[in-house]
Amino acid sequence: MDQQTRSHPVAQNRTAVERKSDRELVVTRLFDAPPHVVFRAWAEPELFRRWWSPEGFGITLLSCEMDVRTGGKYRLEFAAGGTDTMAFHGKYLAVAPDERIVWTNEEEDEGAVTTITFEEQGGKTLLTFHELYPSKEALDEAMAGSAAALPMQLDQLDELLPTIGE
């Protein structure tokens, strides 16, 4: 059941994912609220943690520290079954309230820089989630979806990588 979008043909209430270039990945979605509301759901940890880790994907958000200011840091810890945890961390390069958040992904050497923008469209918000990787290889590797892109807590992976990469 799709809602009709009357005024903006571009804006659909759907999640779209596109590899925009060798180094860029873009996710877009229209939300039925003005930017200041959508922005809060990204910038306030107690709201963010309620939706970032959806049920049914085998991961649980254990902790969520976010200091959403230019220069601030974040750290998200997930459980992925068993006793293993994985952590994502980085810092906010730029934060413009209700407009834009830019952060680094530092759990990998060649992590992406993520930029999200909140664009008002007739009382709604077009959200763009944009990831820029330092090289084509870095994005290829992330997309390979295999061990190569996993955090390094799994020490054994170092040994495994050459065999998987072949």
Partner: protein, 119 residues
């Protein structure tokens, strides 16, 4: 028929959180193997090994193909098909996130409308 089931990273991570499954990948890095062969190598029951292989397969790390009565396993492929599958897996994850976000935004909007005017 060869099946491609590709991954969100989370599935890969869960798949790799087990010593036996990492061993299976290492083994398949050297040569393709049947499930029976793998079960023997890792001193497991056939049923136990089938479960491990199924987890690896769901994560896209391994593909299996049944020829006659033998199911052969090999490392998952990379490449264009994998990329399309990855994008779809990524889309599903974000869609689930954004559906959850939709609900929260609705609540927030409601609170804003119900709440006291500019305190």
């Amino acid at each position: 028929m060869v099946q491609y089931v590709m991954p969100s990273l989370d599935l890969s991570f869960a798949a790799l959180s087990d010593t036996t499954r990492r061993g299976v990948l290492e083994q398949l890095g050297r040569a393709d193997a049947s499930i029976t062969g793998l079960a023997g190598k890792f001193h497991m029951t056939l049923t136990g090994m089938k479960k491990h292989v199924a987890v690896l397969e769901r994560a896209g790390l391994v593909v299996t193909e049944k020829v006659g009565r033998v199911r052969t396993c090999r490392l998952g492929r990379h490449g264009l098909e994998a990329e399309a599958e990855w994008i779809e897996a990524h889309r599903k994850l974000f869609e689930a996130r954004f559906d959850a976000l939709d609900k929260i935004i609705l609540e927030m909007k409601q609170e804003e409308e119900d709440g006291p005017a500019n305190a």
